[in-house]
Amino acid sequence: MTDAAPESAPPACGWHSPPVRAVRLHGGFMALILALCGAAAVAGPMFAMDDYTLSQRLLVASVPVALLALAGGFIGSRLRHQRWKLDAEGLWLRQGRLWWREVRVPASRVQHVDIKHGPLERRFGLATLVVHTAAATLAGITVRGLASDDAQHLRDALARQLDDAGDAL
């Protein structure tokens, strides 16, 4: 590995919030997805409205699409409430604001860790980290919108703690 300082401390203790570009990307992406769904849904009725001109039809159709896009942007940008932290006991992940939740996984219970990069995420230097546990409900804990470097660090730190625990056995 090209890691310059292998014995460096795990990423600074304290809460990490997602970078602004990650929030924007997720908001934009969700807005796009929902807008496309909306467009697909109104396409049929739009063709059926024979009595109106094209511009009138487009105007009518744009209202639900725009509303859906707004909703999507709102849903996607809820990522800004996400905070994560890695300490000696494991990973903390806080999400949401109104419906707030905090998941904690000790490093000793991590089965394996995945890093996912979508094409868009790669373009912006972002990554999604999935921490797999043996639990039934909290089987895959997903940390979205990490900077690529953070994701690598987090994965290495969790994997190293796994190795350490294995040695102690």
Partner: protein, 505 residues
């Protein structure tokens, strides 16, 4: 002492042996089960056509392969390993050291029992498939093999093969089985399935059934009372009530029959760190699991059970490879029905670190009852308007439900509680149907603390403690409406303990 029957049943003379002479029959049956759908399609769809020849050919091929399997399968019992040679074109030789065999699984269906044989599976720690599947050995051979493996097991100091002589922790005499049938709804599920099937296939069979009932009853009543019994509301009510009672009675009877079928000669044993359940009237089934494989324990007590003075004890095991094989029994019901003191004794023996029932139960948030009552209260508020519009002022009577709902929520909140004694964490819930769930803290995998807006207003939080055995539809340890500080402190305590101890499967 066990040496003599063991030697005669299963000589360790270093020679190769074949399976039971009737093995091919059971191999054939197992294969037929796999091919049952295509075979049925062939037989039914091709009826009257010339295609029935294909069905015959397929059956002949299956018989030939099962015979070939019987003639090519040999096993030899060495000093410390069993060697299995099988296959004709594709040969395989497999040597399994006794010490590696974690479990010897004996399975008997009705046919197996008639012939006096058993299907034996030798299982090691990992892997989705058993190390070896011996279809079939005589019962004496199977038990001798089990004893042999146990004797060579990881703990050689133990007495060998006395699992069947050790006194069971729990057995169910017939009176208990009747009680089990009375409290369980197995019959209901079966009847619901039957109704579904009838509605799908039978068409008007169901309708005819109802019609006959009505005609028979009405005819009888008309004779008794005379006149127009059909119009009298009294007779109609009588008919409905009697039908309901008959159905209820038949359902309970069916439940009792099913309880006998499933749980006849039930025995729960603990042996060498393994917990084993054996049960069944026609098809015997035997499920076992290592004690440390058990992820969570649940004690239940419904209303009917409480009236009869009984409880039930269930466990969740980790969904390893064992759980996913068809035909493989998963250990779930440790005690389908038992007196509270028997359940307590079982828990005290199998989960000693819980010190059950002496747990220090902590209450919920003082205003948890309000949170529990709110959804029902909202529903009542929503119902009042339509009720008034439909029935006029008497519709306001719906409001009488509100105090009832408050009272129920109060009882419910009082019944819930949580406990943590440093080794085991527990949650009790339910007012009419009571439930106590316990899990070792070392078996927890992850913890989730959550808060809805309403809960934040009250200063309470939910805590989900997830284990590997929980079903995805509702983990047993879902602690609700805890005071926020208590939930946070518990989460921190559990986490520091989980982080210290590495998970042991």
């Amino acid at each position: 002492m066990e040496q003599a029957p063991l030697l005669t049943a299963l000589p360790q003379d270093g020679r190769e042996h074949r399976l039971h002479p009737l093995s091919w029959l059971f191999v054939l049956i197992a294969q037929l089960k796999q091919f049952i759908v295509p075979l049925l399609v062939l037989l039914v769809a091709g009826r009257g056509d010339r295609n029935d020849l294909w069905g015959l050919i397929a059956a002949a091929v299956l018989v030939a392969t099962s015979l070939a399997q019987y003639f090519t399968y040999r096993y030899r019992l060495g000093a410390d390993a069993i060697v299995i040679r099988s296959g004709w074109l594709h040969r395989s030789l497999r040597e399994i050291p006794y010490a590696r065999i974690h479990n010897v699984d004996l399975q008997q269906s009705l046919l197996h029992r008639l012939v006096g044989v058993a299907e034996v599976r030798l299982e090691s720690a990992g892997g989705a498939k058993p190390e070896a599947q011996m279809r079939v050995l005589t019962m004496a051979q199977a038990q001798a093999l089990e004893a042999l493996v146990r004797g060579h097991g990881a703990s050689p100091g133990d007495a060998r093969g006395d699992s069947s002589t050790a006194a069971p922790l729990l057995t169910l005499p017939p009176a208990e089985l009747v009680r089990l049938g009375l409290v369980s709804n197995r019959g209901l599920i079966l009847v619901a399935a039957a109704f579904g099937a009838l509605a799908q296939a039978g068409g008007d069979l169901l309708e005819t059934l109802f019609e006959h009932w009505g005609r028979w009853l009405f005819g009888w009543l008309t004779e008794q009372i005379g006149g127009h019994a059909h119009d009298s509301p009294l007779v109609l009510t009588l008919a409905a009530i009697s039908l309901a009672l008959t159905v209820l009675f038949l359902l309970r009877l069916l439940s009792i029959v099913l309880a006998f079928l499933h749980f006849y000669d039930f025995s729960l044993r603990e042996d060498d760190g393994r917990i084993q359940v054996e049960r069944g009237l026609l098809a015997r089934s035997r499920a076992s699991a290592k004690r440390r494989r058990i992820q969570s324990w649940t004690l239940r007590e419904g209303i009917l059970q409480r009236w009869l003075g009984r409880r039930s004890l269930q466990v969740e095991t980790a969904g390893g490879p064992r759980g996913q094989q068809p035909g493989q029994q998963v250990l779930k019901e440790l005690a389908p029905i038992a007196t509270p003191s028997a359940c307590d004794a079982l828990l005290a023996r199998l989960l000693p670190q819980a010190h059950w029932p002496a747990l220090d139960w902590q209450p919920l948030h003082p205003r948890a009852w309000l949170k529990l009552a709110l959804p029902g209260l909202l529903l009542i508020a929503l119902l009042v308007l339509p009720a008034c519009w439909r029935f006029g002022p008497p519709g306001l009577l719906v409001l009488l439900l509100a105090p009832l709902q408050l009272w129920r929520a109060r009882r419910l909140a009082d019944a819930c509680g949580w406990a943590d004694n440093g080794a085991v964490v527990a949650w009790r819930a339910g007012w009419l149907d009571k439930r106590w769930s316990l899990a070792e803290i070392d078996k927890l995998q992850a913890v989730r603390l959550s808060q809805s807006p309403l809960q934040r207003r009250f200063g309470m939080a939910d805590l989900l403690l997830d284990t590997a055995g929980a079903s995805p539809f509702g983990a047993p340890l879902q602690l609700r409406q805890l005071p926020l500080e208590a939930a946070q402190a518990l989460s921190a305590r559990l986490l520091s303990r989980m982080a210290r101890k590495r998970l042991r499967w």
